[in-house]
């Protein structure tokens, strides 16, 4: 990028920077303190996950999907599993669907806590970071209880879940969900009416609804500009039609509006978790499809056909009828979609991840042109990008 005139300078906000939330490189052409042009440069975290999935069986792709958007791993798992289940035409039992919703919303809380902590810390409010990570520690312990892993859970499988919920999980989750709205009140106490926070975020990085839609923005970034769209409500998946929740929409379109949207989403997610705990149905935790879903462990040890099915699925994978599918879900960042093309074999022909951060990043230059360098930090935090999601 070359400076357009003699009086401008190109500043490199390099891939290593504490405020870019990952390896994002921004080339900013500045005239004094004002930004004239901005260009994001990504690809530093590109690991070729889409290419790798073509060499693996369908069930082996699930751990790969965890690592794409590493702040909401269960959301990626869910999107992929739903896409493959749509390709197969597989019906998931209600208990598995409710547990998926419960854990998906817990993951949304997890992701928004990191967003809030790091965004506030970039702006200068360091206390909020530790408060958020205190709650995040509880959520990570819950994840460890359910799947054995704190972060890269890989708990969802094609056909349901890997294992049923352990004993005592629902009690601990209920204690967390009862306590959590009080914690959100704490964060709001520190930030929402804080004059310094409001100075730094009100009117900053404004984007209008038309520009946001034209640039492909989705999620809270779009909802804060006044567009009322949420895939959980508009295209319900995995049983979301059974839950009552509000979709926060604001019209100001600046960093403060996005902050308010996401904080309200924290509260709504907690309410969905409470509804899921209260109404969790009994039943199977994975679908009854012997050729696709691994059989129950006890059956596998005592019956011959179950053992054969288990062996076949693990060593040769299961074939998926040819076709293609695009399944989009609402991740904490926006519309996360999986476009999967199958050619009838046990390995996917093409898996493409439509990642929300990749699309939302295109809105960043529009938001920042004409503003000052310090506002860039606030804007990046407010879009909530994750570079693993961006680059895959």
């Amino acid at each position: 990028m070359d400076p357009a005139a003699d009086r401008t300078m190109v500043l490199n906000m390099g891939p290593q920077h504490p405020s870019t939330h990952g390896v994002l490189r921004l080339l900013i052409e500045i005239d004094g303190e004002t930004i004239v042009r901005m260009m994001p440069d990504i690809g530093y975290l590109h690991t070729g996950i889409e290419k790798t999935t073509e060499a693996k069986f369908y069930q082996q792709v699930v751990p790969l999907t965890d690592r794409i958007d590493y702040l909401c791993p269960m959301t990626n798992n869910l999107a992929y599993c739903l896409a493959v289940e749509k390709l197969l035409g597989l019906e998931i039992p209600p208990r598995a669907q409710w547990i998926r919703v419960m854990l998906n919303e817990l993951t949304r809380i997890n992701s928004h806590l990191v967003w809030l902590g790091t965004h506030a810390m970039d702006i200068g409010a360091m206390t909020v970071f530790l408060y958020c990570f205190r709650e995040r520690e509880d959520v990570l312990r819950l994840f460890e209880m359910v799947s054995g892993q704190r972060m890269m859970t890989s708990y969802f499988r094609i056909g349901g879940l890997a294992l049923d919920l352990p004993l005592g999980f629902l009690d601990r989750l209920k204690k967390f969900a009862d306590r959590f709205p009080g914690n959100v009140d704490e964060y709001e106490n520190l930030l929402t009416a804080n004059p310094i926070f409001m100075e730094r975020t009100k009117g900053v990085a404004y984007i209008s609804a038309e520009d946001a839609i034209a640039l492909g923005t989705t999620g809270p970034t779009l909802r804060a500009s006044g567009v009322d769209t949420d895939l959980r409500r508009d295209e319900p998946y995995s049983g979301y039609e059974n839950f009552k929740f509000k979709v926060p929409v604001r019209t100001e379109g600046d960093v403060y509006a996005r902050y308010l949207c996401r904080v309200q989403e924290l509260r709504e997610s907690c309410s969905i978790v409470q509804q899921a705990i209260a109404g969790l149905p009994e039943g199977r935790y994975k679908a009854d499809a012997p050729k696709v879903v691994l059989p129950d462990r006890e059956n596998m040890k005592t019956q011959m056909e179950s053992l054969i099915y288990h062996f076949k699925i693990v060593t040769e994978g299961f074939t998926v009828p040819a076709g293609e599918v695009y399944q989009a879900i609402e991740s904490p960042r926006g519309e996360m979609g999986y476009y999967i093309v199958s050619d009838g074999t046990a390995k996917p022909y093409r898996v493409h991840m439509r990642s929300p951060s990749f699309a939302n990043l295109q809105a960043l230059p529009k938001m920042c042109e004409g503003r000052m360098i310090a506002d860039v930090v606030a804007a990046i935090g407010s879009i909530d990008i994750v570079l693993g999601d961006c680059d895959r």
């Binding site: 990504i42 690809g43 590109h46 070729g48 889409e50 290419k51 790798t52 073509e54 060499a55 749509k86 390709l87 197969l88 035409g89 597989l90 019906e91 520009d211 839609i213 034209a214 640039l215 492909g216 923005t217 989705t218 567009v227 769209t229 508009d234 295209e235 009828p321 076709g323 293609e324 599918v325 695009y326 989009a328 519309e335 979609g337 476009y339 093309v341 022909y349 093409r350 493409h352 439509r354 990749f358 699309a359 990043l361 295109q362 680059d391």
Partner: protein, 165 residues
């Protein structure tokens, strides 16, 4: 729950609004349609792509204002080799549509839809980087994922998973 078989005959799909509007506008532009697993896919000829996309965005009955994704599938070694896939969404009507364009391997050029939806900027750069399809009219068609001096297009089927280095 068994899958319903895919409907691939365009005559059976003529009652769908998107297919009907496109055929009404220009029958030569539509090369085929498919309704499978509750999703509608329409194949468009490359020559009519920009006009068809403008119609899809601006027509008051269709209003596909959000371009969710632009991607590509490589069908090597069969011809036509590449299939560029556009995922469209109408926020007001809450509907999705998939548009596909087939390209041959020796003619991998397609007009860019950046004049219609600005969000195609990064998406088309990614398809250029990983598949080698040239988007005509894109203001800054450079590599986005791979380093600037990389040779080859990694997502093509004749490029090994392990890479060359």
């Amino acid at each position: 729950m068994p899958l319903a078989p895919a409907v691939t005959d365009i005559n059976l799909l003529k009652d769908r609004l998107e297919v009907a509007r496109l055929l009404e506008w220009n029958t030569a532009a539509v090369a085929g349609a498919k309704f499978d697993r509750n999703e509608l896919t329409i194949w468009i000829e490359r020559a009519h792509l920009l006009d068809a996309m403008t119609l899809l965005r601006d027509d008051t009955q269709l209003r596909f204002n959000l371009l969710s994704d632009v991607t590509c599938v490589d069908w090597y070694p069969s011809e036509p080799r590449f299939e560029v896939v556009y995922e469209l969404r109408s926020i007001q009507r809450n509907k999705r549509l998939r548009i596909k364009v087939k390209l041959g391997s020796d003619d991998a050029r397609i007009p860019s839809v950046i004049g219609i939806w600005l969000s195609s900027n990064f998406f088309e750069r990614e398809v250029f980087d990983l598949f080698g399809i040239h988007f005509e009219g894109h203001p800054y068609l450079r590599r986005i994922m791979m380093p600037e001096d990389w040779e080859g297009h990694p997502m093509r089927k004749d490029y090994p998973v392990e890479g060359y280095r």
